[in-house]
């Protein structure tokens, strides 16, 4: 059966309108210190090796919406995109990200372990190439908590022992889990309880006990700033942000490693790239996610490399010269009691619980 193929005029136009420049690629990330760490660890060595120039675009926060719009317009201008695992899953679900054959398209570990075994269960989606492990955890003002700094995540809910404002993210994810944990739900049961109406109400009721003392944040930089200003006594944010506030800016801030929520960040390649650009993107990914490169990134920022084989290679901070391993969320001392973000739960319940959460906030 030979068939006549007629493409959409629009997509044919789009192909003609985006000439491929093999010597240039656009990589999308989060900006700030994080992008800088990627620039030093990945982009610069890659450009030096291949001569490809890399354009940075700090649009990761809106990556899902923008990729959807690009896809509808038939003109995808990004080559590689850095997203959190939950977004990678959604992009995969929407058909906006390309599926990856991890074993054949990524580098094996130096000892010959296959890529999929090296990343292990961090490959949470067929489209996702894990890069770092980060944690959402609490920081506190060392000068505002007296002689007994908080050691337990439930201290956040203890207004008597730790009076003052706290900052929490203005979305249900993580907050609902912490609330249930501190309301006496066992760690293993948290998502089962949260799947029920009664469980959601229970979490909100627990949050109600501190609602008047909460400042809700939207951007990852908010909590470090609020802590530095003394606006809050403790607050949740990403561990890398706290690291830079504590170690680089020497603020009187301490870090609470308890029930921190483990999450992942990594790369996706947008669906619908031309063969040439796809090849280029895969070549970059192969380079940027090998064992050494992932370990190199940890010199610049305190996020744990996603490969098991990278952990022993983590060295000292590039400027401060301090050992980075003890600051990693993956360090055994820090990871005594961690909480793993449940991706498929939130993929299902995100909108439902968010509507309830926002309605509760507005009350």
């Amino acid at each position: 059966m030979k068939l006549v193929k007629s493409l959409l005029v629009a997509s044919a136009f789009a192909v003609a309108a985006t000439p491929v420049l093999a010597a240039e690629m656009t990589i999308v990330s989060w900006g700030g210190a994080y992008s800088k760490s990627q620039l030093k660890a990945y982009h610069e060595p890659y450009s030096a090796k291949t001569g490809v120039s890399i354009i940075n675009d700090d649009s990761s926060a809106e990556a899902v919406a923008k990729l959807r719009a690009m896809n509808e317009a038939g003109n995808v201008t990004w080559d590689v995109v850095d997203v959190v695992a939950a977004d990678a899953m959604r992009l995969c679900d929407e058909g906006l990200a390309m599926e990856i054959d991890h074993d054949n398209q990524l580098a094996t570990a130096p000892d010959g372990t296959s890529a999929s075994a090296d990343f292990g269960n961090l490959i949470v989606s067929e489209c996702f190439i894990p890069q770092i492990v980060y944690s959402t955890t609490f920081g506190y003002r060392t000068d505002m908590v007296g002689s007994t700094p908080p050691t337990n995540v439930c201290d956040v809910f203890d207004l008597k022992a730790y009076p003052g404002k706290r900052s929490l993210e203005k979305r249900p994810i993580n907050n609902m889990e912490w609330a249930l944990l501190c309301d006496g739900v066992a760690k293993a049961d948290v998502y089962d309880v949260l799947a029920t109406d009664a469980g959601q109400n229970r979490a909100l009721a627990k949050l109600d006990t501190i609602k008047d003392s909460v400042i809700w944040w939207n951007a990852g930089a908010d909590t470090p700033q609020l802590l530095a200003d003394g606006e809050v006594v403790m607050g949740s944010t990403y561990n890398g942000r706290l690291f830079s506030a504590i170690e680089e800016q020497k603020q009187p801030i301490g870090m609470l490693w308890d029930a921190q929520v483990f999450d992942l960040d990594g790369w996706i390649i947008p669906a619908g790239l031309s063969d040439e650009r796809k090849k280029q993107a895969l070549d970059y990914i192969y380079f940027a996610t090998d064992t050494q490169r992932l370990a190199d990134q940890a010199k610049y920022i305190s996020y744990g490399p996603a490969r098991a084989s990278s952990a022993p290679l983590v060295g000292k901070h590039a400027d401060l010269g301090i050992d980075m391993a003890p600051h990693m969320p993956t360090d055994p001392n820090n990871a005594k009691n961690t909480f793993l973000y449940n991706y498929s739960f939130w993929a299902d319940y995100r909108d439902d619980i968010d509507a309830k959460f926002q309605a509760w906030l507005a009350k």
Binding site: M1, L3, V4, K5, S6, L7, L8, A61, E62, V64, A65, R68, R90, C92, D93, E94, G95, K165, K170, D197, N201, I215, W216, N218, D229, G230, E231, S344, A347, D348, Y349, R350, D351, D352, D354, A355, K356, Q358, A359, W360, L361, A362
Partner: protein, 570 residues
């Protein structure tokens, strides 16, 4: 003497044509020239404003994704009496099996799952898991068939069975034995593919499926046709390059077991006929294909009513569902219903947005009026300096101004520190003037103030000072002179400024997001959430459409009450 013009002879222009004609021609030429002059702007506005906004608003009712991805299921569910029957019948399950299979192969099923998850929590993962599990039943049947005859494992067997074009004597409409080929089947499956992928592929109408095989094995023929089209058009491959589609075995077993096909199978002739007949005998020993059971095995969600109810409710190509959601309601089988109280949020946000925008507009009038008066009445040198102060915020980034308010208003911020230093408030009882409505009103009033001052100023400049002087010389007090003489003349400026400030305020997003906390955010913050976080663009479009309607209604009301002619920008 000039002959008197009679009423029925037309006036003539210099060149002899009737004056009316030549006048209208030159007028038309003028209009065309004018149009030509504004053409770049017109095209620009159309392309960058009207078309995208129209496109976005259209999404608020667009819902063809359900019927595009699961066309057979939607059709089968038409017959389901959801009010009385607990679950749909076998035909719906059968339709869902093949729809979902095709969608999973095209990687479209998760899109539909995400769409339906907006309506019913949990469907997203049910679809995602189904996409993987839907391959299993076919895989098991493939083994059964290959045990009967290994030939069933090859695409060539199916091609020999169905594809008339492989026949050497193939003619446009008749196969070798003079039997008609079924061309309409290919065309209908092409339509199915185009619908699913949103493409416009074309296949010559002369290509057909062998009519006798299509009669004997109708489901298999349908899926074969779809498989070929999908593989060749969408994947740019030949079907002989990969494995036979799993769903084909399910369809084949179903066809062979179906007593309605028995006669047509018996009359089959050709190289594959004996294979089909032996397989029919063998397969009829197996339990009958039960799609209800198969789908239940794919995901337990398909054995429950809720997933079917959601598909049926949201299967129409155009939906009012997003607009219902936008006003805290939802579609149910019994018609529109109010959302449970724990999820009611949007109406409240609409009210708050309008209320706070009005407060901001009034604050701007109160603060802006004296400044505009000063600007209009001070000597030029001083008023120029004042003007720069008014315009200064315009030259500063919006984000910087908003962040500056954060520094000013927070509990350890400038205002609180000063008040504590003055001893007006206690240090442990600092004012909460940020992350709430006060924060939003303060910051937005400051940011929008120039939009109020400038139109007021340009109107006040045109009011002759002699009027007030005249009023005073006739014995009016300062207040009377202002209130009876000056103020009425400045109303057009207030009107223009108010409309400008109110319309800008109602759509504000970034300032409430930063300083609004929880009770100082606007509906636009929710729209932004649905655009960039939840990706529920249909709901975002519905919210945007309602906001647009609110603005237009208020504008209309303003026109009725004050009159739009009384609005002046200078």
């Amino acid at each position: 003497m000039m002959p008197e013009q009679t009423s029925n002879t037309p006036l003539l222009a210099a060149d002899g044509t009737p004056l009316r004609q030549s006048l209208s021609r030159s007028l038309r030429r003028q209009k065309l020239r004018a149009l030509f002059l504004i053409a770049p702007l017109l095209v620009f506005v159309m392309l960058t404003f009207v078309v995208p906004i129209g496109n976005m608003l259209f999404r608020s009712v667009q819902n063809d994704i359900v019927s595009n991805i699961m066309p057979h299921t939607v059709a089968a569910l038409e017959n389901w009496q959801a009010e009385t029957e607990p679950l749909p019948d076998e035909t719906a399950y059968k339709a869902a099996f093949f729809d979902l299979f095709a969608a999973a192969k095209a990687k479209e099923h998760t899109k539909l799952g995400a769409r339906l998850n907006y309506e019913q929590t949990g469907i997203s993962s049910a679809f995602r898991k189904s996409g993987r599990a839907i391959m299993k039943p076919g895989k098991e049947l493939a083994k059964t068939f290959q045990k009967i005859d290994p030939a069933w494992g090859k695409a060539e067997t199916f091609i020999a069975l169905f594809d008339a074009s492989f026949d050497a004597n193939f003619d446009a409409n008749f196969d070798a034995s003079g039997k008609k080929t079924n061309t309409s089947l290919n065309q209908s499956q092409l339509a199915r593919l185009n619908q699913l992928k949103g493409e416009q592929y074309i296949v010559p109408e002369t290509k057909g499926i062998a009519a006798d095989a299509a009669r004997a094995l109708p489901m298999t023929a349908r899926e074969f046709s779809y498989w070929t089209l999908f593989t060749e058009l969408e994947k740019n491959k030949s079907i002989t390059e990969g494995k036979v589609w799993e769903a084909l075995y399910v369809a084949l077993a179903d066809d062979l077991q179906n007593p309605q096909n028995a006669a047509a199978i018996a009359s089959l002739s050709g190289p594959i006929a004996s294979l089909v007949k032996t397989s029919a005998r063998e397969i009829s020993q197996q339990p009958r294909i039960d799609y209800t059971k198969i789908m239940g095995g794919v995901n337990k969600g398909w054995s429950e009513r809720i997933i079917w109810e959601t598909i049926k409710l949201h299967s129409s190509v155009y939906t009012g569902g997003y607009f219902l959601n936008a006003v805290d309601m939802r579609k149910t089988l019994d018609g529109p219903a109010i959302q449970p109280e724990s999820k009611q949020i949007l109406l409240n946000l609409f009210q708050r947005t309008v209320k706070m925008s009005l407060i901001i507009t009034i604050s701007c009038i109160l603060l802006g009026y004296p400044i505009a008066w000063l600007l209009a009445n001070l000597p030029v040198r001083t008023s120029n300096i004042l003007m720069i102060l008014v315009l200064l915020p315009f030259w500063t980034s919006l984000l910087v101004r908003t962040s500056a308010w954060k520094v000013m208003l927070q509990q350890q911020g400038v205002i609180n520190e000063v008040l504590v230093w003055l001893g007006i408030v206690a240090t442990d009882n600092r004012l909460e003037i940020i992350n709430n409505q006060i924060g939003t009103i303060t910051a937005m009033t400051h940011i929008l103030l120039p939009f109020m001052i400038l139109p007021m100023y340009s109107v006040m400049q045109t009011i002759p000072p002699s009027y007030v002087r005249a009023a005073k010389s006739l014995g009016a007090t300062n207040w009377t002179a202002f209130w009876r003489v000056y103020f009425p003349q400045s109303i057009p400026g207030i009107g223009a400024g108010s409309i400008l400030v109110f319309i800008l305020a109602i759509g504000y997003y970034i300032t409430p997001e930063i300083v609004g906390g929880t009770d100082g955010v606007f509906i636009s913050n929710r729209i932004a959430y649905h655009i960039s976080r939840s990706l529920n663009w249909g709901l975002a479009a519905a919210l945007g459409a309602i906001l647009l309607a609110v603005v237009l209604v208020l504008y209309w009301a303003y026109d009725k009450i004050v009159g739009i002619d009384n609005v002046k920008l200078g």
